[in-house]
Symmetry: D4
Subunit: 226 residues, 8 copies
């Protein structure tokens, strides 16, 4: 699988957007989204967190972006990985760990990342300040360009959350949000996946689902009355 995903194809216009991430160079790392850890998250509602992660998984599948998952002691109290990820991103590769808190301390994990051939890593996980922060800092040190999706991640307090944001910036990790990630990978409506992408905006920003419902109804009424 990773072979085909490695093929870099781009929807980007030539010349523009040099400062943005290149979807063809990106891999997504989803770290420790586990049911036990979810209970400790206090900077985002668990329903919002899971929906954001679901969006990321669907997006990765739609755009054919490699996904690597891992979990911290899933047979213990940390609990199992949320099942939606592998259901929605069947191409995702799961890497078991041997007790390491920091996924980057696990050789298999780093190896799997390297195998994608991608140099831009998009990370999300629980806790933001640990499961995302540690591999993010290590990956920056290893020369990767790293994005942390803060609302597809979770921290145990508001104070921890804003501290994570500051530490990301300080450490050269680029913080982003689920809606921005969607747009930054999406890049243009002039592509075949546009209709599928539109639906994802209703996950990244739930009011948008209602916007679309209103839009289609208004047009249907207008057409019926035409």
């Amino acid at each position: 699988m990773t072979t085909s995903l490695n093929q870099k194809t781009s929807v980007l216009p030539t010349g523009g957007g040099a400062a943005l991430l290149d979807p063809a160079d990106a891999a997504i790392l989803l770290l420790d989204h586990q049911s036990g850890l979810f209970q400790t998250v206090k900077d985002i509602a668990v329903s919002d967190l899971r929906r954001n992660v679901e969006m990321v998984a669907r997006l990765a599948t739609l755009l054919n972006i490699p996904v690597i998952t891992t979990a911290s002691e899933p047979s213990g109290s940390n609990g199992p990985l949320m099942p939606e990820i592998h259901e929605l991103a069947p191409h995702a590769v799961y890497v078991p760990r041997k007790g390491e808190v920091n996924a980057w301390d696990n050789g298999d994990f780093v190896e799997q990342v390297e195998a994608t051939g991608r140099r831009t890593l998009i990370m999300a996980g629980v806790w933001t300040s640990v499961c995302v922060m540690f591999p993010a800092l290590d990956a920056v040190a290893a020369g990767y360009e790293v994005y942390a999706v803060v609302d597809a991640s979770g921290d145990p307090s508001e104070m921890a959350s804003r501290t994570s944001l500051a530490r990301f910036v300080q450490g050269g990790v680029k913080p982003t949000s689920t809606n921005a990630l969607l747009s930054e990978l999406h890049r243009t409506w002039a592509r075949p996946e546009a209709a599928e992408l539109a639906k994802l905006y209703g996950l990244a920003a739930p009011n948008y689902a209602a916007v679309m419902e209103s839009f289609h109804k208004a047009q249907a009424v207008a057409r019926a009355g035409a």
Copy 2:
């Protein structure tokens, strides 16, 4: 349909619970959950509001409780009814209105309510302060016992929301929340629908879904290791 739903069967113990609502006497009225109106709701996230309404619809179907829906000018900018309701509660009856803001001002609506034979009305809608408040006050005046599910409803500001709560109490309407409604209709785990009801708790309180995932995994690990 309303005929069979009118059959009052009870899971309640004899003697207990006289102060609570009687599921066998209850009908659910879902009022103006429309995509355009959703954009004006500011006391609850639209994603939470819709999930709560979805829970109520599933619950009504599971427990065979009559549901009546209505919408205010759905061909205009108020937008269409959220489709989940009728999908999840196919037995729900939709009553069109003729411009009345207050559903209780519409004779067909009141007639449909009376046809259920139920005297306990559980209402939710958008806005709480209007689409729920007005028929709720009128139904109390008409001798019904009325519950307002405040978090399956929505108001355009926090200030409007707390004002609605005060006016409900002042007007003899019983305010409740989605999770309490679920429990008050549920009443006992010693019933055939218990497993189905358990899933609904994961909608009414999303952390509970993760609680169940952790529980099942912990037991599976224990059994595998036994």
Copy 3:
């Protein structure tokens, strides 16, 4: 002017809505919406407060409901009345006071209220806990049915605000919000003022203005493409 306004005409269906206020029996009292007092309001943004009062003034004019205004020492530091009220409700009658904090302590004010012949008083003002509360309690004692529009009013702290809400309920005053007042006076879309009323919803709930913009554009696009 008050003579013609006294004519009670009703858009209400016969039979329904007995628990709601009767627009034909209502008068609106706008109390001490003054620029100096506005600076002390902390339970609502001044921009929201003024827009809500503007909506009430427009609504009164549209539905021909009597409006009485008054101000507390407007030549002193309390400042002048917000000019929008009399601009948008030119039929409003201004009653000067002689130093009384409580408008109901002023004989001319009470006389003007009585002259409307209306027994349902809709009050708003700054401060809620004083300029609305005092005449509201006195009017209830005098046999009027009284509504307090809490978000067309303002209090100097969140704590004062929630205390006012509790004291209104305790004292038999019905608390309401600007959006609910609009709907309770509006009552039906099947009336000649419907188009004008629709615009007022964009003031009571600003997201609704955007809802309408989207709706009209969507229909225009559909029709153009039809």
Copy 4:
């Protein structure tokens, strides 16, 4: 002192304001505003709480209203009474207690209240839910009309605070705020103390002090330029 304070003189207009408190019938009870207890207050900033109590003390002195203070174990960790009260209201009477948590359980305290001859009791204290609630409920039971000034009082959490408000209403205690108390005792600007009262509004609503500064400067500039 209490003798002269017992003389009931009124600034109220005849006929108006029957629903409001009568300043000539009121006594103010300030309960346990102690430095140690202040540290536990979480529903209002201590600076705001003390300023509100200071306003009440000044107001009582200005309008010659009896004040009774008391403290709970002030030689222990609860700490001394805030000194501003007796400094600003030198006519206040301090009643020591013998260990009772509820001041109304102390015979001397009740006797002192009775000695004022006033039947309207205005109470504030720390904690609201205890030091105000207990004597307030007892005084209502004893036939007094009781007001609780919630923002000249303090509770150890927001949840305790809103619970106190609900229990006051349930128990027949009238909740009010410092600014409303000032206005309800003030009643009219046509009285000799008007200038002194004006200054108190700058304590009850600090933005008002700046309103007055701007007003006087604007007038001085206008006069200088005239």
Copy 5:
């Protein structure tokens, strides 16, 4: 055990405090404080909730007040009862249920309550809106005086929490907070348990523990320097 606890002895002064609860007539019901349910609580931090419940358990033991506990399906995903309760209140009686959501629907539970001979019931639990609300309403209907300790309880949202408070008041249940319960049972410092009770204030209001530390140190320094 319940026999000796039934002995009513009082620290109350004769005459005072008739409006407050009588400790000698009170029983405490702790309902469904279970680890799985704790994860769904969103109106209070779990650490605060558990500390408040711990305080109640210690208080009951210190003042010899009967405690009855129960749990909803503790072998399932709701999880075990928090162990602190029975550790700190060894006299507490645990009543298993047979699937009933509402403890009052369980005959054994009601019987155990009746066996205490107490007519004042102090309830706390998770969820407030269900596990406290349902038996509270039923107990009021059965003629008991009922207090609900809202911050030794928990609800799945702020909106549910404020709805519960309103419904308690509407239903005749007296809402209270942990600190108020402590003080209302404590009543006087002139009793042998005073020193032990003082420590409990550090649990009900954590800043108070630091107040006492400062106090003792200040006195020690003064004495050392005397």
Copy 6:
């Protein structure tokens, strides 16, 4: 039009203010302020957002600063551009896009920016994290000095909003607010547009409108009484 706007005239004192933006070198880019997208904004009220954008449009017109607007799929569910912009800034140039999410990916747009001859770009839009962020980062990369007006923009959550702020700083974009932009372009009251500029402060900070009303009334009273 762009020709005359290109003329750089300055109100700046010689020597001072080198660190601030130069109005004569600035162009304003208003990106995707569309009615459908507005519904997804959660970090600022839509009424505040629109008023801020209105202020920017008026300011640009008053100070003759070039404005370029664009919209993302305005015939689809994103909805039409808010009409106030082009009404209040009739000199604004609208650039249609061909599906690009990032305006900077559109060659016409970049060309239009270059045509202004300005090197300081002031950007605002919806979403901040996308429609502002992407062209802002690209413009910085292209050598422009870029300001992002965060409260004339909007993001779908508070978390996304603070993430955007951090990413702006990280990427060399200067974050600012509407009131600061007004002042930074205004620079001195000693200019002919002073009276017109004063009015804009009432939009950027609504309390200021009331400050001015109080001021003028106080002066009028003083002069009348002189």
Copy 7:
């Protein structure tokens, strides 16, 4: 005056604290703390803002640090400077401006700053984002070390406030708070002004005043009982 203030004397230990500001090199600039502007401040309560500014004024006087004040159009609607500053810091020098929004654009102001001979500038003002930001950025550009005291300043929204903080950091201005400024200038309790400085902590953190009251009472009780 500025001559004597220019004398640099230090309480600092040799060797330590090199990273902190040097009180002997510092001047304080208080910018546009005017009554009209105060009404627009929304990121801090006006009472807190004024108390913080009062603290800074007292501190400057106590430690003999130069203070320069200025105001923006104080004869207009911006209103007069808060009088406490010059009352509490009689050595402060007021510099009138000629319409410049940015004090640094005014030559007299910059000259007065230079006259102090100090190279560390501590700034506070209203608005933070304008009256502090603009001269702060210019002073950094001119080679000064600049501190911005964010809570002795005020901005018109929370969003503007956090944007200011980000822009300060981005621009090389050091953000600080009133309590930190007090401590950074204070530096050691082993100095003659210690008792006077202690009192200022009760202004910078109002709970500390109560801490001191409890402390002194506890010691007095201990000594009395010794």
Copy 8:
């Protein structure tokens, strides 16, 4: 003691984690956690602050990391050090100061830090903006790598708190949270202290304690039923 603690032993994998702190090179400095100062903390609840500090003390003992404590005038109103620190970390060394506000201004303190031989300093204290900030900035200037644990520290306002975070980042201090510190020192579950470390997660994130209770119960039930 410091000798044995100086021995650097590592659980880190070779190669990984270079960007993270090295536990073998770390010392923990706990600064001025005093009962009087605790009362002024407003950015974190005192109960949470103390529990976080307790966690740090336990962690240091478990992992044999040097701890140095100090206090500011503990015989004065600042009050005594919280006793839990030295109880739980008996190896901690206490350094008295001679009046210096900044611990780094005290030679003994700096000497004690140097004696540990560690170059990575983990600091926490009250206030964050003073007692942590000042030595943190000085330590960075002296070449140390410094971490500030923001939620084992406290500041007198939210505004001061976010200012501290910004100033830390600006000054090269790495901000972190208690849960992240635990994980960054923990690093792997494959170590003998794993069971003891697991318990500490229940302190750093109290919901996790309930997660573990549910987990163990679920397994016990499964095994009993096996």
